[in-house]
């Protein structure tokens, strides 16, 4: 499955990414500021050191100036007081030079060395002058001053100091300029980061706002949905209950009270069994609930008919649709209960009506048809020609009415699933022979010949001989009626894939194009006059197709080359008898798994399937699993109320074994009408064992055909 991020997830991701950027930006700002603070501190340090050095340069200059001034005054006055600045300068000079040299800056070492040399020369010059004055050689001292050497040295010292000062000043200016550039860069960066931060915060605010708004809208929607659901819950005509994991009623809507006659106070906390007229034990009910699936998930959930019990003890038919939901702490179940008394009553009325029609119409027709038959047969003496013709007409129409009633009853039985099939292994050749034999008289009346073309080998199917004869009779009857006098209808049998194909070929007018799509519909005739001309009921093909389909086959038609129509019936074939007298049928028989904890039931059912299917019995689900492991099972019959187990628990495993496997329940639970995952629910008290066999084999045939 392709992952598609939802808008919510995208929003969440954007918010988290944005919030993650904020601390990054703040860290960036902090680092930048920190670097700037360090740069400023460094600049201040350098500046202070430069100032100190420049002060030292000034002090050195002053000291030498003091030497110059002091010595000159001493030469002029020979007064020792003038030598006081000279003496102080001599004392300070070394400390000043040491202070500068201690700062250890290599680029000024050369300049300092020159300066020291000049200073030494200057002090030596001054010392000579002082020495001469003290020795009384004032004229020599004055002449030495007059040479200008001392002044030149002083000028040299001043220049050197000025150069050093300029150097320091330039260095400081350069550093200050670099610092300014760095600060400007920092300002721009910090501004950009702060703007980014502001934008991010704005974005986060926007997202959070939007999120809050959406959350608020979602809560509004949820509230509206909840209101609607509450209204639905309260207003639905069906009773709806919320059950806990043990089947106790947690909530219910007013319809439950209306349907069952209990107040809400009486039912809340009660087990749902109080609403059912049922032989289930509490354990069985629990097991049943456990097997209910989640609603809407792969069609899970379960729908079943029960007999409900009202507070006054009266009972009624009810259908319960139950689904599992995940509650806050445990599984819960939602049960929708529908009162189907009216539907059941209508079904019973319909059945009763059909039964009444069957009896009440056939009874007078017996008299009419019997009388006419006796008259026609000469029981009341010979009839005049005209009277005989009138009796024939009356008899023919009476027969037609009987056929119509029979066909309507057949259709009703087929549609309501009540048509019973006695399925057995049978050969197709004799079936065609019987049909042709019974239809020869009818064909003679129409001047049509019936011929059969059968293969030399026997063809076998599993079918109800009477019903298949009815099917073939309908097709042959139609073919005869639509074939011109003197014509021929061929009944042709062949093999097509896994099916026996029986074809009925006529030389009629063919089937009009506009009639083809509805030819198998009820009361379908090509034109209104058709039934009168041909005496049909318009139900024959509908019945034929239903019979074929209930045998796992089908009916179709094609145009016949040279004119006319070919109707064909396909019925799944089974292998024919072998030459040694035994039958391959045993190998072809489907394997049926029957799970029941009652030995007698297992024996009776196995006996009923004899010759029709291999029955493998199991008393428990564990035994059933063993059977599934060893055998290829085509159908399964389950008892529900096994000792300590529920047969319905096997359904998933059975479907895993064979997905399209017909699964039937054959149970004593009278209340059970349907069960999720089960193809047929048959009740022991209402179903004969032969019906169980018929239904099972029919379903197996249908599934084989579908496969």
């Amino acid at each position: 499955m392709k992952f598609r991020p939802s808008k919510v997830w995208l929003r969440r991701g954007a918010t988290i990414a944005t919030l993650a950027l904020v601390p990054l930006i703040l860290v960036g700002v902090f680092l930048a500021m920190h670097a700037e603070f360090r740069a400023v501190a460094q600049l201040r340090d350098v500046s202070e050191r430069t100032d100190a050095k420049r002060d030292l340069f000034a002090d050195i200059l002053i000291a030498h100036a003091d030497v110059e001034t002091g010595v000159r005054g001493f030469i002029i006055t020979a007064d020792d007081r003038y030598l006081e600045p000279y003496n102080i300068a001599l004392l300070r000079r070394e400390s000043l030079f040491s202070a500068i040299e201690d700062q250890g800056e290599p680029e000024i070492h050369a300049a300092l060395a020159r300066l020291r040399k000049l200073s030494d020369a200057k002090l030596a010059n001054a010392a000579l002058n002082v020495s001469d004055v003290r020795a009384g050689r004032i004229r020599q001292a004055r002449e030495r001053v007059a040479t200008g050497n001392g002044k030149a040295l002083m000028d040299e010292i001043r220049r050197e100091l000025a150069d050093l000062d300029a150097h320091e000043a330039a260095k400081l200016a350069q550093l200050t300029e670099r610092s300014s550039a760095s600060r400007a860069m920092l300002e721009r960066s910090v501004t950009a980061m702060l703007i980014g931060l502001a934008l991010l915060l704005a974005m986060v605010t926007m997202i959070v706002n939007r999120s809050f708004r959406m959350r608020s809208e979602a809560m509004d929607r949820a509230e509206r949905l909840s209101d609607r659901q509450k209204a639905l819950f309260a207003g639905t005509v069906d009773g709806v209950m919320l059950l806990d994991g043990r089947g106790r009623i947690l909530r219910m809507n007013p319809s439950v009270s209306r349907i069952f006659g209990y107040s809400e106070e009486e039912l809340l906390g009660q087990h749902n069994m109080v609403l059912l007229e049922t032989p289930y034990s509490m354990e069985q009910s629990m097991a049943w609930l456990q097997s209910v699936g989640v609603a809407g998930k792969h069609g899970a959930g379960r729908r079943q008919e029960f007999t409900g019990k009202r507070s006054d003890g009266t009972t009624f038919d009810t259908e319960v649709a139950i689904s599992m939901i995940h509650g806050e702490t445990e599984k819960n179940y939602v049960a929708a209960i529908r009162d189907i008394s009216d539907r059941k009553r209508a079904e019973r009325m319909k059945t009763e009506f059909v039964s009444t029609v069957s009896h009440e119409l056939r009874t007078p027709l017996t008299s009419i048809g019997g009388s006419l038959g006796l008259l026609e047969g000469g029981a009341a003496g010979p009839l005049e020609e005209k009277a005989k013709r009138l009796v024939e007409i009356a008899k023919s129409n009476c027969d037609r009415l009987i056929r119509l009633i029979n066909d309507i009853l057949d259709i009703e039985k087929i549609e309501s699933g009540k048509m019973e099939f006695d399925l057995r292994r049978m050969q197709v050749g004799p079936l065609i022979g019987r049909t042709v034999s019974s239809m020869n008289g009818f064909a003679d009346q129409h001047g049509v010949t019936l011929t059969t073309v059968l293969p030399p080998w026997p063809q076998c199917v599993v079918g109800d001989p009477d019903k298949l004869e009815q099917l073939l009779t309908n097709l042959v009857s139609n073919a005869v009626k639509h074939t011109p006098k003197g014509g021929e209808v061929e009944i042709f049998s062949t093999h097509d894939g896994g099916h026996v194909r029986i074809e009925v070929r006529d030389r009629g007018q063919g089937i009009p194009t506009e009639f083809r799509s509805r030819i198998f519909g009820k009361f379908a005739m090509a034109d209104a006059s058709d039934s009168r001309l041909k005496g049909g009921t318009g139900l024959g093909l509908a019945i034929a197709r239903e019979i074929a389909r209930r045998h796992g086959g089908d009916v179709g038609f094609d145009d016949r080359q040279g004119g006319g129509t070919v109707f064909h019936v396909d019925i799944p074939s089974v292998s024919a008898e072998r030459t040694d007298g035994r039958t391959d049928l045993d190998q072809d028989l489907p394997s049926v798994l029957h799970i029941d904890d009652d030995d007698d039931t297992l024996a009776v059912v196995a006996s009923a399937f004899e010759g029709k299917a291999h029955v493998m019995t199991a008393h428990t689900l564990a035994e059933a699993r063993e059977v599934l492991n060893k055998s290829d099972v085509a159908a399964a019959i389950l008892d529900i109320g096994l000792a300590y187990e529920n047969g319905l628990d096997m359904i998933a495993e059975l479907r895993k074994h064979r997905e399209a496997m017909p699964i039937l329940t054959f149970t004593a639970y009278d209340d059970m009408r349907t069960a999720e995952g089960v193809d047929r629910v048959l009740i022991k008290s209402r179903t004969s064992v032969s019906d169980l066999v018929d239904t099972t084999l029919l379903l197996v045939g249908e599934r084989r055909r579908a496969a």
Binding site: R362, T363, L365, T366, S371, A379
Partner: protein, 122 residues
């Protein structure tokens, strides 16, 4: 060889037709009764070779009448054939378990009715 038949049906028209139809066979001697109770009164006096019983009759229906006959040692071996307008297979099976010899569906063909009866009791 004469075959004595008791035909029991609450419909007088059908009784009459059945009597006529069965009477077409010269070997058949037909007696009729209009209800289960009337049939039992007849059977108290006579034991027929075969009894044809309508299934749905007011009062005592055909299956009940059969049970009553089987309770009577004198009548327990009399072959019984049901004649019914309801020919559902499950009903036919039930009739077989009730020890009936066979079932003839209504409407029956009057010209072949005696032949059907002969075939079922053969």
């Amino acid at each position: 060889m004469t075959i004595e038949v008791l035909y029991v049906d609450d419909e007088p028209d059908i009784r009459e037709i059945a009597e006529l139809a069965l009477g077409l066979d010269p070997d058949f001697v037909v007696a009729t009764a209009s209800s289960g109770e009337e049939a039992l009164a007849y059977l108290a006096m006579y034991v027929p070779d075969v009894a044809l019983l309508d299934v749905m009759m007011p009062g005592m229906d055909g299956p009940t009448l059969l049970e009553r006959m089987r309770d009577d040692p004198k009548l327990e071996s009399v072959p019984v054939i049901f004649v019914t307008a309801r020919a559902q297979r499950s009903e036919l099976q039930n009739f077989s378990t009730l020890d009936a010899r066979g079932v003839i569906a209504k409407p029956f063909d009057p010209m072949t009715l005696s032949g059907q009866v002969r075939a079922l009791i053969a």
